[in-house]
């Protein structure tokens, strides 16, 4: 079964940047969401295996999404892609179960390394 991946970011440009930074041979169906609430809707309706998650967003932010994923015991991997690079924030999202943290603007090499490292491709 093809992996379903969700890109969640309030910026259209940022969503496109993530999509374009994915390795060419990364085989997944890509869905998108423009804030945390939308992401939770998508997570409820689809079996998402991987989430690329922004943190600073209107309505519900990335930390809120991570908390909800944890509370609902959803089985999905989360890679945080954020401009909020404070060490304490990186620690917080890791504690909430995020697999990895990538500093914006997203870098395709780093993304590829992480996807390989965790056997996601």
């Amino acid at each position: 079964m093809t992996l379903k991946a969700l890109i969640c970011d309030d910026s259209v440009l940022a969503r496109k940047q993530v999509k374009k930074s994915l390795p060419e041979d990364f085989d997944a169906e890509i869905l998108t969401a423009s804030n945390g609430n939308e992401a939770l809707d998508v997570l409820a309706q689809h079996e998402i295996g991987l989430v690329f998650l922004d943190l600073t967003m209107p309505e519900l932010d990335g930390v809120g999404v991570l908390e909800a994923i944890k509370a609902r015991q959803l089985k999905c991997f989360v890679i945080v892609i954020s401009a909020d690079i404070q060490p304490e924030m990186q620690k917080r999202v890791t504690e909430l179960g995020a697999l990895a943290f990538i500093q914006k603007p997203v870098n395709s090499d780093k993304l590829a390394v992480i996807l390989h490292q965790y056997g996601l491709m």
Binding site: K19, T56, Q86, K104
Partner: protein, 202 residues
Amino acid sequence: MVILTPDQQDALQELMNVAMGGASDQLARFLNTFIHLQVPAIQVVEASSVPEQLARMYVDDDTRLVSQGFMGSAGIQGEAMLLYKMASTHQLAGILGYQQDDTSESEMLSDISSILTTTFLNSLSAQLDSSLSYSAPRLLSCQPSELKQRLKELSERWTAALQVNIHYQVTDYAFDCEMILLIPGSALETLQHQLDLILQEF
């Protein structure tokens, strides 16, 4: 007046978001605290409308204005202004261990402004493949009655203003300031062109 397309606005917002993230990280290290970030609200306005609008927003407040010029390789240049309300600054000075007198508070605002402006603009220009140099920050203290005149003097040379409202919620106190980038019309056109190049890439 140049108006950004929705795509350009979104792209600029994201570039600013990345720049804000870097600036906040530096400021958090300086303040030795954690900062809750919010999506920065940005808008492009005519420079001439800035004094009136800001004077209205800060009508009752003792305000400090820090201004710093910047100049870049790709025709980007302008003046970065940061506006602080003194009421929230006194508390911050206490927390940071600055003496609560005028000289020390001025020093603190210059330090904070330098961190915010240079980190923010360095990140922004790096994303636009340009580099910038800066003049030293100048601190202008003003009573509410003088603010409009000071802003007028600063904004007269420029066409457009990129207004970024920054709100930092630090764990146990709120710290607000307003950042205004005053730029000439030609720089705004350059910026739009660079945003279009980025948009074409994706």
